[in-house]
Amino acid sequence: VRDDDLSDLYEDAPCGYISLTSDARIDRLNGTLAGWLGQPAEVLVGQSVHALLSFGGRIAYETHLAPMLRLQGRVDEIALDLLGADGARVPVIANAREKRNGAGDHLFTRITMFRAIERRKFERSLIDARSEADAKAEAEHETSLLREQFIAVLGHDLRNPIAALDAGVRMLGGRETLSERGQFLIREMGASLSRASALIDNVLDFARGRLGDGLTLIRDAKDPLTPVLEQVVNEIRAIAPNREIVTHLLLEHPVDCDRARIAQLASNLIANAVTHGTPNQAIVVKAYIESDRFVLAVSNGGDPIPSAARAQLFQPFFRGGVRQSQQGLGLGLFIVNEIAKAHGGTLDVSSTPKETRFIFSMPIHSIPEPKSA
């Protein structure tokens, strides 16, 4: 055998060769391919190309490969399983070209094939690994969604018993004659209840945000904001009667905001100041308007926030180093920041040994939504 023996070059090539007629019948194939298939070439010649393909491969040939060959004259790097004589699969990678005459009539289609058992196995394992990862991610996503839905439902349902307890505590405090110790306990119970409802509100807002609803605002520029802020301060004074809260509320222009949300924001910031600030320094609440922006600043004394913690302050479930009994869920500042963002505003913090100050600022006129094209 010489290397310039073209017949041997065809028959014994290190790849499979096959030619198909224009009606997709096998015209000839080389010895290498016949050997892989375990059938003499004479048996296969004249049969449809379908005889070599699994049923799935036949559908793919008819729906994809034949049209692609017709439209672009070639297909490359097709992964196929050929059917051998005993039904065994021969995994191959195939390239095909259509041969046409000058008038554009289809003469025949030539296909070269490379047996690719290991490569196809490797690719198959990659596909399996990816679908496994996809399925896992999908399952995890569903679980986390369920968990968030559960939190939302739980938070919602907890509101009713808390409201009932709160009504009872108010009734006891208002109408019943109580000992001094009794009055003290009722006040403490009231404070605990309002902290519990604030926690639930935060959890519900967080779950709503995570479930994709986001914060929806009911803006109203007409009603004054000052009484709302005063009420928030008074509620906290009632809970923490020993703490001094100084207010400077100077709002001479209306603010186009959701007043309930701004109340929630102020309440969270002031309650934080009560929890983290030193008791022997007054909490200062300032509200004013400066170059068309509404500014709310809440400051307290005490140890400054460590700079490492400052970066994570607005992350959900972040809790600074506080006493165990006062630990919340770590959602307060996250929600405050979300309310600020929903208003097109900003939340900044400065913290020095002298004072820690949270500054919320937002435009007093809401910016109209851009019209969608």
Binding site: D23, A24, S48, H50, S54, F55, G56, G57, R58, I59, A60, E62, T63, H64, A66, P67, M68, R70, L71, Q72, V75, I78, A79, L80, R120, E123, R124, I127
Partner: protein, 262 residues
Amino acid sequence: MMVLRRNNVRVLGQGSRAMIFAHGFGCDQHMWTAVARAFETDFRTVLFDHVGAGQSDLAAYDSVKYSTLDGYAQDVVEIGQALDLHEAVFVGHSVSAMIGALASLKAPDMFSELVMVGPSPRYVDDGDYVGGFSHAQVEELLDFLAENHLGWSAAMAPAIMGNPDRPELGEALTESFCATDPKIAREFARVTFFSDNRVDLPAVTARTLVLQCREDIIAPTCVGEYVHAQLPNSEFVLLNATGHCPNLSAPNEVTAAIRAFV
């Protein structure tokens, strides 16, 4: 218009009546180029890509909407409405034959004639009904689609999808006519080969031509005959063409058969 962009609708030709061509599972509107050209002298010809195929807007693909052929039929109706089609001819290849039947039921005045090329109302065998497929065989096809992305490049898709007004970005993809997002291709394969529209056939009122190929493993002759028998007002023509895509392999024979019918 959104619909026309979404389905990459191209209107050519002139005439008082319109003829709309729908491609089947596999490639895109290029399947119909040769046949549609032959009708441009006396018909307004409409070519389009199903969402997910060809140069359609991939961002409009929605796994829920397109989990049944009904979602695709709804698109055909919307295209018909956008182009104000009445008494038009709907020519559907493969699975689009049934999509056309469903569209004609949704909008009875839109199409007075249906041409079904290689139709099948159900591919998987069911009791006495022979569709030609088994479940396992459809799974083999899904495996093939998982392993062969046929020129699809995930890296290209965002560039094309994000720049619908820069068609040159899509030109690399038109090189490969059957290039489809593999995930969409698999879902379309599932919807197609697990569909069952046998109950819809007797309700079709439009005059229908069933074009049947020889040696078509996807839509065997017995299935074409079943479709013909179930349709109240249909003609059946057995072509000399073999295989499943006579619109590509024998466009002249398909053109002549449609012309004789309309």
